[in-house]
Symmetry: C2
Subunit: 437 residues, 2 copies
């Protein structure tokens, strides 16, 4: 215990708002530190148990198996769009026909990056030139809380980020509509439409329809639709959302949707496939620019995935196995939060029906403190503020919890640790911050 242990510990008292007394909280926290945990819940990383589900991939495609159904040799060059059987397998996930599907390398973030890079450097169909030349500076709408790596991409490209509240049914469409009709420099919006990172939000069909239909000042406005958790259900309810690509066609904005997905959380996180679905014009645009960059993606890994997953039924069966591993971890966290944080005012958490995250709102002004307290007790969380543009949460309140990677037992211990830190940070708002080195 540090030498400069709290100058003064108040008598235990039930503070206003259900915050427990500081002494109780401190005792809990000291006991927590004595457990010397070493756990990481910072990123949405599959567990070893999940990765083992795709063990067969390690020896696939196997000797003599390297031709596509069309006879292309997957060991050799060529084939920018991905092999036909892989495009057919994943087209349904994207909601576009196989001919409008691109199967790429091992990272959908890279695919998103490259689309943004080509748009910035060369412009997109319906546009009037490179996005990097947009008068007043290129801007994107960022529903918050959102995915930190999307926002980091904006930083890398010097894109101005405009936060938009994420409601229970998706981005606040009144705000979105007003902004995109008024500001021609806004060329895109980041969306994780199903089991959103980090809130688990599922966009309502009316919101999706509104995104497809709304008029925009910029004719080349794009929705970056990162459907990363399309098949990643946690309950029996396999939520379906409206098909953005189709709706964009219906409403006369065929080129508006860029739909992304990946198998990173289906097969191997580091060695999966990235997917893009869009209009014929956008696909031609992407392929044209991608051809400067590379002779094409790794087709053998695509064949390997086709051999392993076989078809959409195979894909869904695998996802049910993932669910069986993941659901208990989420349940354990939520159960622990209920137990420890149930009565605490201003503290709440999501109970997502899918995806990889639980969002936790703590007492405003304490999120960073909670992350520090957790780190100090051996539990690494995503940086507070990460789900906000620039890494700054204006209320310093929202935390992202990723319960997938540790074991069930560890997840329980981690959730308990987080709860203890939240209680201590809450008590500190009443009693003053204690010094913990």
């Amino acid at each position: 215990m540090p030498a400069n242990w709290p100058r003064k510990i108040d008598e235990e008292l039930k503070a206003a708002n259900g915050v427990p007394g500081l002494e109780t909280c401190l005792l809990e926290y000291r006991a927590l530190r004595d457990r010397q945990l070493k756990l990481n819940l910072a990123r949405g990383v599959p567990s070893a148990e999940q990765l083992a589900l795709s063990e067969a991939l390690l020896a696939l495609p196997g000797p003599g198996d390297f031709h596509t159904e069309e006879g292309t040799d997957c060991r050799n060059y060529m084939g920018q769009q991905g092999i036909p059987e892989a495009r057919r397998l994943f087209a349904g996930v994207l909601g576009v026909p196989p001919e409008n599907t691109v199967v790429e390398g091992n990272s959908s973030l890279a695919l998103i990056h490259d689309c943004l890079a080509y748009a910035c450097r060369n412009g997109v169909p319906d546009g009037d030139g490179p996005w990097q030349n947009v008068a007043g500076g290129l801007a994107f709408l960022c529903p918050v809380p959102g995915y930190d790596r999307h926002f980091k991409l904006c930083e890398a490209f010097g894109i101005r980020m405009i936060s938009v509240p994420l409601r229970d049914d998706g981005p606040d469409m009144e705000v979105v509509r007003t902004l995109v009709t008024q500001d021609r420099s806004i060329r895109g919006i980041w969306c994780v439409p199903k089991y959103s990172n980090p809130t688990g939000t599922v966009y309502a069909d009316e919101v999706i329809r509104a995104l497809a239909a709304m008029p925009t000042a910029a004719p080349d406005f794009r929705i970056f639709w990162d459907n990363a958790y399309a098949l990643h259900h946690l309950g029996d309810q396999e939520t379906e959302i409206a098909n953005l690509a189709e709706l964009c066609v219906t409403h006369g904005h065929a080129n508006r949707a860029l739909v992304f997905a990946s198998t990173s959380k289906i097969t191997f996180a580091g060695a999966g496939l990235a997917l893009l679905g869009s209009s014929s014009q956008n696909i031609a645009w992407y392929l044209k620019h991608a051809a400067f960059r590379s002779v094409g993606p790794d087709k053998l890994n695509q064949l390997r995935h086709v051999r392993f997953l076989r078809d959409e039924a195979g894909l869904k069966a695998l996802m049910r196995q993932h669910r069986a591993i993941l659901a208990p971890r989420f349940a354990r966290v939520i159960e622990t939060f209920r137990q420890y944080l149930g009565g605490l005012a201003q503290v709440s958490w999501t109970e997502p029906a899918g995806g990889y995250f639980i969002t936790l709102d703590v007492v405003p002004g304490t999120a960073r403190r909670v992350v520090d307290l957790c780190r100090n007790a051996g539990v690494i969380l995503t940086d507070a503020g990460a789900p906000f543009p620039g890494g700054v949460d204006p209320d310093d309140r929202t935390l992202r919890i990723a319960p997938s990677s540790p074991s069930l037992e560890q997840v329980g211990a981690a959730a308990e640790a987080i709860a203890i830190c939240i209680r201590l940070a809450a008590a500190e708002t009443v009693h003053g911050e204690v010094v913990l080195i």
Copy 2:
């Protein structure tokens, strides 16, 4: 035969400069067309025989094998720089220590593209900002003939290309030195230093030293050193060239060299590994920007390659097997050219000691005609002009022949076809072009 068969066929005559008579050439060409060949020598693509050398990769790494020597799970996220054993395996090829080696995805062209993209968007160490803002417009030196995909990258990024003659020992260093000391907008030069594409040129050690040592107006000048054929010998002589990265350090320009290589023509062309070697500052720069784009490359494919190739000795043994397949193809082409084109003035070809190409200089003004005549006879060649910026060969003279992909027999037939087309095109310069539909 076409209806509009030549209006007038001259009597056979030995024209000046050893060009055979038009009638002989036409008879040959008609017989050639009757053979109805269907061959492609356009790109440097490995043959099925070569790809079969790495058959074992198809079932690797195999069940239960997914940990690096450090215990990293290759199936999962993370690891921007590549796995340690892969970096160690390939560091020697690049001429840098393993800690200055990056092992990336399946395309070194993509790695080159990305370095260029990050430089254009964000600038590089020693520089004063993004290359896209260079006053007067960013420019690159392009030794010619050179690799068409390098020049295409310049087009994609809007980079001004300045041609520099490629001599027998590398780029004309007098020209290079004058340009880089005078013009601050020149930030890079494209080099394929060993068995150059398409000429087979091997840069002399003094040229490499001069490139490392020369003063440049731009402090952030970079040599894009695409050592694609580092191990790709065709003869017993395993040519070694000077170590550019080391020389750059010696001469106080540690950040000048960006060294690239790949296993595309070692294992599988579509499913290999891309390699980058450079200074610590450049590697940190690359990794920083790559981290925005992706969580990291496919580590399983790296492990797969390590298991298969084992070490540098394994790598070199494999390359000797490639040589046994490739060398006879090159010999067949050269032998055929000698036989058909031996006496023809103004026609010459390279006899490379390594790499994937033979460069053929035909009668000036006839290269495009030769490509058309070949296509018309079922033999596809690289477009005339491809080895020059903008795809325009000022002398319309230089052709690139890629003999790797067809079988030995087919390569002989293709070389014969090319020679017949060259003779006919040469004869036409004397007798007037014939009409062939």
